[in-house]
Symmetry: C3
Subunit: 242 residues, 3 copies
């Protein structure tokens, strides 16, 4: 049995994993789903990437979690890479789940297409507090393309504005790329948040940066934790085992 | 419940959708499957792209169909784009189903590899009436790769020569690319009619031209309406809902 | 019913097909699984590509097998191409199963990424007898990514060192590319032995070299004969039928 620490992506908080965790626990695994600093409803959104990382490091140390399988979804791929640098001795395996794997010196923003960059830049500028609100049309069509409208609305109501600074901070990842921790990439094949294909798609562009890694695939959208939480839990187990 | 208008691809006529429609109707949807001008057996094949488009526009107006989900298969991706320009107010959503999405000013022929261009050019020249007969070997191996030989033969018998002019007409699509109609791309992952890959494949090359769109995928060949009509009907529902 | 000749890949011998053959025979097919010269435990590993090919040709002629569906896995894609040149009149169809399809004049080594070339070069040099031992970490993460650790260990115990010369021999394939034998490419979509993507991946890079071919896909790793032998057998039937 494994100890999973599941780190949510942008616009989410730890509650996004509720249904997934239910199933992982039925299968006998211990699960933790911290909320990244600056994320969730009604909190201070004035955070940078280092503070986001530190909040997850603190959570793991406070609970004294060891031998963990650390999973990061989407934006949280950038978080678990930095968490791994800080506390590599506590991590058994990393799972990048439709997640950003940045080259050394890059930001998340460097890894999205120019039109998405412009969209996020504009939304952040117009927000007045450097956050980005997810447009519903984008959520429904590109993030939850495998769900019905009701589930798209239900899950949308759980989102909160995303602090933009962590997405534009450039990360020093030299240490990450020297860590001998085993890595998996879990890829949902209908994820269309990034345009599929060699130039911008999650896989194989970002997955291949990991060097030797275990590839696990399943059908589903970027937000499959809502559209198919049991299927996702099963694949997390496959990605996370030795 | 939706009103589906399903537009067939090259070599077919509206009867190609028979089994798909049966299942969509069981699920409570209204379905229409017009035959494009110059298509089907025993008709005048001397048509251009504008006449093909007009025949579908006329069908929809004659039946006074509104709020429709308009699907185009293969070649018919070029038809529904032009139909959408003509009667956008009648269309709720467009579904491109393993379909051509042309850039403004292009023809279908511009979007197939040079050896396929040469093959079609030759067949059209040799026909004496500027039509193209589908070679059986191509049908069996590249179009119905997920079917058995019996089904490949059965479906082949329903084909008729394809008028070539609509495939070489270059289309003005500036208006199409400004239409705010929601769009889906339904992609069968074993479709090998166009060589898979970035250079010529259906998805993501042509799908990404749509801008924001809903991606829906399923296993199956280019002619999955024959090899798996029920599975296709289920995915059409997913692609077509709000 | 078909006569299948299944040719194993590197590090394997004919016993790799045991579970697959069991299922194919239940379905009424005749199956043969020769071991390539220089392969298997306790044999002379000093062979080149021509000798590997000849051993399969001899096997087929000795047993007087005709009208066969000849399948090659991985490295054996290079073998069945040369076998087809030698005895084309005995072959009904070729199946390339996550297999190398070399351009005329190339070696297998020319078709793997530089870091893999360097790894194999080093292992062969250090072996003292120009063979390559499969590293377990690579086997577990990249070859059997869809299996549990127990199955990865069980199957690893069946491997033996791979003679390196056949992987670096450059092949004259001009005759192969003129043969009219029907061809299928069977692709397991989680195969990560070659980095997925346009530059190095099995499909569509190598499959498209076949010209007209039947594409058959299934979920699974490079070693799906261990992780899902029944599923594989079913897809071999689809790939091999007329």
């Amino acid at each position: 049995m494994s100890t999973f620490v599941l780190v949510h992506g942008s616009w989410h908080d730890g509650s996004a994993w509720k249904a997934v965790i239910q199933h992982l626990e039925v299968k006998g695994h211990d699960c933790f789903a911290p909320t990244i600093a600056g994320h969730g409803k009604g909190v201070n959104k004035n955070v940078n990437h280092a503070q986001c990382t530190q909040s997850i490091v603190d959570y793991i140390i406070d609970k004294d979690l060891t031998d963990i399988v650390l999973l990061g979804h989407s934006f949280a791929g950038t978080i678990i890479a930095k968490v791994a640098e800080a506390i590599s001795d506590r991590i058994r395996r990393l799972i990048f789940f439709n997640a950003f794997v940045l080259n050394d010196g890059e930001s998340l923003r460097n890894n999205i297409p120019p039109d998405s960059q412009a969209l996020l830049d504009n939304l952040a500028r117009e927000s007045g507090n450097n956050t980005v609100v997810m447009p519903f049309e984008l959520w429904r069509e590109a993030c939850l393309n495998d769900a019905d409208l009701e589930l798209a609305k239900f899950s949308y109501a759980q989102l909160s504005p995303e602090p933009y600074q962590p997405l534009i901070d450039k990360l020093d990842l030299k240490q990450f790329y020297s860590l001998p921790i085993p890595k998996s990439y879990l890829y949902c094949t209908e994820d269309n948040v990034l345009p599929q294909g060699e130039q911008w798609g999650w896989h194989p562009k970002m997955s291949n940066r990991l060097g030797l890694f275990r590839l696990v695939q399943m059908p589903g959208s970027h937000e499959v934790m809502f559209s198919n939480p049991i299927g996702l839990a099963e694949k997390i187990i496959v990605a996370g085992r030795d």
